[in-house]
Structures are given as C-alpha cells and as structure tokens.
Amino acid sequence: MLTIKNLHANVNGKEILKGIDLVVKPGEVHAIMGPNGSGKSTLASVLTGNPAFEITEGDISFYGKNLLDLLPEDRAREGVFLSFQYPVEIPGVSMVNFMRTAINEQRKYKGLEPMSASDFLKMMREKKEYVELDNKLANRSVNEGFSGGEKKRNEIFQMAMLEPRLSILDETDSGLDIDALRIVATGVNKLKSSENSTIVITHYQRLLDYIVPDFVHVLYKGRIVKSAGKELAYELEEKGYDWIKKELGE
C-alpha cells in the first residue's frame, strides 16, 4: 500500500531525510525508532504533506497514487492520518464543528452526501468510547486547554472518526501515564484490521508491548540503518542507541 523510495527532504535548506526506503503492506504494523532529532517527525510531516518541508528526491506511492502530488487534505481523504507529536491548539474552533467539517469533506471527496446531524452525533458518541474521551472535551475548542494526555487521546479519537487506511502515530506514548497509555493503545488496537496499517514512531519500547509491531526500523541521521522483527525493540531498550552507532562505526 505504501512504498517510499529514496526519499530526501529538507527543512529551511538543511537536509534532514537522506534517502529513506520503506514498504508497508496492508495490515502491517511498523515501528520506527531512533534517537531525538534523527528525522522521525520529519518523515511523518513529509508523508502528510506539511508545506514546511521540501522534497528534493524520491517517490512515495500510496495505493498506486503518487502521494507527493496530492495536497495534504487529499492525502487525508485518501486515508493517511497523523497523530501529531505536538497536537495544535485552535481556540475558537469547536471540536464538533472541526470533526463535522472533516467528516463531510471526506465524504464529499468520496462522492457521498453530508452526514445528517443525528448520525454525526451518534458517531461522535461511539468513537469517544474508544479512548474514553471526556464529553466535556468534545464540547471545547480543538485541544484548547487540554492536558498532554488529553491531546493524545483526542488524536486517537480523530483517528477513530476518520477511519484511515494508514495511521502514523508520532510519539503518541510520550507524556502518558501507564493508564492513559493502555487506553490509547487499546483504542489503536480496536481500530486495527487486516486492511489498514500503522506506523508507530516512538523511542521507547513500552508502547510496543501494547501495539505489537511486525517490523522495527531504526532511523538515524535521516536514514533507516537497521530493520528487523519486534525483538529489535527489546534489544534497543536493553542496549540503547550507542550500540547502533558502534555498528555504524561511529
């Protein structure tokens, strides 16, 4: 479903991604690990079309479409979803209005009629359950005044609403206590199917106890330097990243 070939990307003229290759098939879970600043969030931004990043080389195809040709909103409508490392607060835009607009724009893209108000509210109610999102939060402005954990839950709530084919979870575990982590991970697992795939970005192994990856990749200085099965996550947890650096002869 997703094929990334030799992807290079710059931000403010500085090369951050230096040739990424990655293939994700339907139903697979890929973990991307790596030390701070290695380019994990940059990869997520590039996949979702953040205009702050410039692609200098490479291709991304998603279900046969050239993702790099699509606007961010069209990528989302095609089923790409990013749970942001730092979700944005948007005062004055209510969660309800935000989600209704998002759902209906997605439906329009697929040639469907807008959802009725009652169906929409029913869907909101159901999907809130996935992450035990407080009713009060759903009535507020997008992420405004939400705690760190609430923001992360809100991301997964939006994921549940939009039912993406590819979910990218960028440090969704950071700042969560163990209960919140369990809730978020359970939510993600409930949304998993043999059709859709997940890229989990994290630098701890603990989330991977809940969301079990099929593959683990290590991203270091803008390149994937190692790929293996889930056991790699435990190895990294045990030995740290210095071990990788040594292997690379640094």
Partner: protein, 447 residues
C-alpha cells in the same frame, strides 16, 4: 478652490431652506457649528488623529445634498424585508438623512417612550430635546461633527423614561438611496433615563450604485443604573464613505455595550467617545472588521474614565485581505481621581496578504495611581500550524482558513447579547468569509 468652499457657499445660500425643513432646537446650533467647521476645515492626513484616513479627500466628490428634504420614492419595507429573522424588533428607517415617517408596522412600546423623527420631537418636546441636543457631540474640535451639526435637519430620536424597560431590540435601518451622488448628514439622539433599558441595532446599507457619503452623529445619554446596548452593522457597497461619530455619556452604575461590525464597506471612519461620568459605570466597547479589495476601515475610540470605580473593556478585531487598509486607535484616559479604574483594551488583527495593511495605536493616559489597566495589540497572519493541522484531517485549505478566520472574530460575536442577532451575525460573517456576501442580505439592490 478649497474642498470646503462649495460647502461654505452651499450653507450660506441655503441656510434658510435647511432651517425650514428642520426645527428650532436643531437650527439654534447651526451657525456656531458652521463657524467651527470653517475654522477647522475637513481633517487631512496631516493631523495626528487622521494619519491613516484622509477624510478631506472623501468630501472632494461633488455630492448632491437633499437640502429641500424632497421625499425620496422608496418603500423601505419592500426594500428591506429583513433581515434578522426572529428578532421581533421595533423597526424604523432613515432614508438618506430623513426619518421615514410612513410607518405601517406600528409597534407597541411601553408608556412614556418616545420614538421617531428627531425633527418632529424637537418641535413637540422642544424642552426635552434642547436639554440634550448637541451637548456631548464635540462641535468645537471635530470638523465632521461640526459639519453635521450645521447641516443635519433630521434623524432618529429615542427617549426611554425613568425605570422603563424595552425588552425587544429597536432596529434602525439606514439606507442610502438616490439616482445621483449624494451626501447625507443625519443626527440621532438617544436618552435612556435612570434605571431604564433599551437595545438598539443600527444597520447601514446602500441601495443604489452611486457614490455616497454619510456623516452621522449619534448622542446617547445613559442615566443612573440604566442599561443600553448599541449594535451597528455596516454592510454597504464600496462606493460608500461612512463617517459615524457616536458619543456616549454614562451616569453612575450604568451599563453600556457598543458593538460595531463592519461586514462590507467602502471607506469607513467610526469615532466612538464614551464618557464614564459616574462611579461604578461599566462599558464594553467592541468591534469587528472584515475587509478585502481596497476597503478602508478606521475605528477611532476614546474612553474617558472621569470617576472612580468604573470598568471598561475594549476589544477590536480585524481580518484584512487583498489590499484592505485598517486602522485602530484606542485612547483611554483615566482622570486623576478616577481611582480603582479597570480598563482593558485588546486589538488583534490578521493580514491575509502582504498588501493588506493595519495600523494600530493604543494610547493609555493614566493620571490616577490605583488602577488596573492593560492594552495589547497584535498584527499577524493565520497560524500555519493550525492550518496544517486542519488540512491534515481532510479539510480543504480554503475551508480551514475560513474556520480560523471565523474562530478569530468569534469572541466579538460572542459579545452580542441578543440571541437572534448573534445567530444572524454569525451567519452573515460566515457567508462573508465564504465570499457569498458580495451583496447584502435582504436589500432589493441585492436581488
């Protein structure tokens, strides 16, 4: 020849006709005001207070004035089948510079309330009108106010006696309607006595596609413990120059809300002067501007805390697109013995393009020492991170911008206390942002 000269000639030649079509109380103020105007001349950009808006240029157009108060053929009910559904307002009209007296929808107002033509009430209740007329409007230093006082023959009058409360809003629709370029000077006088209450919604519209200039002055007296809300909604075409000077005088423990919304306009200069002249008076002054193309909007405000323990809140927001120009000036004066004053002012602006320009000038002059005052002004762009976040959920860029602009001005809309009006303004603002409001709602000119 100076820009002033044609108007000076006009006044000297037609003074009698103006007087004949007005009433004694208004006529008595004319000559002094005219002398002041002659002394002052139209304001130019050389003057500090008019740095961003050269009004003299606006007067250079060769406008006609309806000196003889000829009746304009119009049925405002037809023209304005409006506007705000479910508002249940008491409806009145000003056509150019005259009160429209052919009212067919008579509304029932509480005993003692006087409402209608200023010119007529100046005849039937001359003492009452004379007590208040031209008392707070500054004809000494303000040339356009002096000009208005010299030329205005009629306008709107509202008197709410002691303790009387008018529940439903009063709606005053002002339309510009003519087959030639036209200037209108009209005058409103509003008296809310002790413990009384009223809400007024003023709508400004243009009907014909002519060059128009309106120069409107409104004086409002709000007595002890009285409460008054003043909403102004401006939705005119781009060939309109709109000058409005609102003077509010507040007594002890009175409560006033002024909310001025510019949805669409040509050139606008709004002056608001609020005098807090009794302890524990409170005032909220807010406004919102949506400007694009070459629209120009200048809000010039002055809140004078003359007595202790008063509160003022001021909030203005602008969204400027294309080459629109915005200016805001907010002066707050706290007099020496106005201790325990609370005065907060905020002006936030978004420029959507490099060509759009905003000038903002907060000005605090504080002579008391025990006060809580603050001001803040920002000029910026839409938050790029928020924009991307919305787009990453499948919301188109245009829609995402709309949501953010709408969110930006929403706290000003929230300050509207009449629910039907709030809903309607919200709708109009949304349509405006969507570009569906190139024509104003409910006017025949727009059909």
């Amino acid at each position: 020849m100076s820009i002033e000269q044609p108007y000076i000639d006009l006044y000297n030649k037609h003074k009698q006709a103006i007087n004949n079509n007005s009433s004694l109380v208004l006529n008595n103020a004319r000559d002094d005001a005219f002398a002041n105007f002659q002394r002052l001349g139209f304001p130019t950009a050389k003057e500090e207070e008019f740095l961003y808006t050269d009004l003299s240029k606006a007067f250079a157009t060769d406008y006609g004035l309806n000196i003889n108060a000829l009746k304009i053929p119009i049925n405002p009910y037809e023209v304005f089948r409006c506007g705000v559904p479910g508002i249940h307002s008491h409806l009145y009209f000003i056509v150019n510079d005259q009160f429209y007296s052919n009212l067919t929808q008579k509304s029932t107002l509480p005993q003692g309330v006087l409402i209608g033509s200023l010119k007529e009430f100046a005849k039937t209740h001359s003492d009452l009108v004379a007590n208040y007329y031209a008392k707070i409007a500054d004809t000494q230093h303000d040339a356009t106010v002096a000009f208005n006082t010299a030329f205005a023959a009629d306008g709107f009058f509202l008197y709410v006696p002691k303790g009387v409360k008018i529940e439903n809003p009063i709606q005053l629709i002002k339309v510009m309607r003519a087959d030639v370029d036209l200037m209108a000077n009209s005058r409103d006088l509003i008296i809310i006595e002790e413990g009384a209450q009223a809400n007024l919604l003023v709508c400004e519209h243009t009907i014909d596609k002519m060059n128009f200039l309106c120069n409107r002055v409104t004086e409002v007296f709000v007595g002890k413990n009285a409460s008054y809300e003043h909403y102004k909604l401006e939705n005119t075409h781009t060939k309109m120059t709109h000058i409005s000077s609102l003077f509010v005088h507040q007594e002890t423990a009175s409560n006033v809300l002024v909310n001025e919304v510019v949805l669409h306009n040509g050139l606008t200069r709004n002056n608001v002067t609020i005098l807090l002249n009794g302890e524990h008076a409170e005032t909220t002054l807010c406004g919102m501007v949506i400007g694009d193309k070459t629209q120009h909007i200048d809000n010039h405000t002055f809140i004078h805390h003359a007595k202790p323990n008063c509160k003022s809140r001021e909030l203005y927001k602008y969204v400027l697109d294309d080459s629109a120009r915005g200016a805001f000036s907010g002066k707050i004066l706290v007099a020496k013995d106005a201790q325990k004053t609370e005065a907060f002012q905020t002006n936030k602006n978004i420029c959507m393009t490099k060509e759009a320009r905003m000038n903002t000038k907060p000005q605090l002059e504080i002579y008391a020492d025990d006060v809580k005052c603050s001001h803040g002004a920002t000029v910026g762009q839409l938050d790029e991170n928020a924009l991307f976040y919305l787009r990453s959920r499948g919301i188109s860029e245009a829609e995402a911008r709309m949501l953010l602009m709408f969110a930006f001005v929403d706290d000003v809309i929230e300050k509207i206390n009449v629910p039907a009006l709030k809903d309607n303004i919200r709708l109009l603002v949304e349509k405006r942002f969507r570009g569906e409001l190139s024509k104003c709602e409910g006017c025949a000119s727009c059909k």
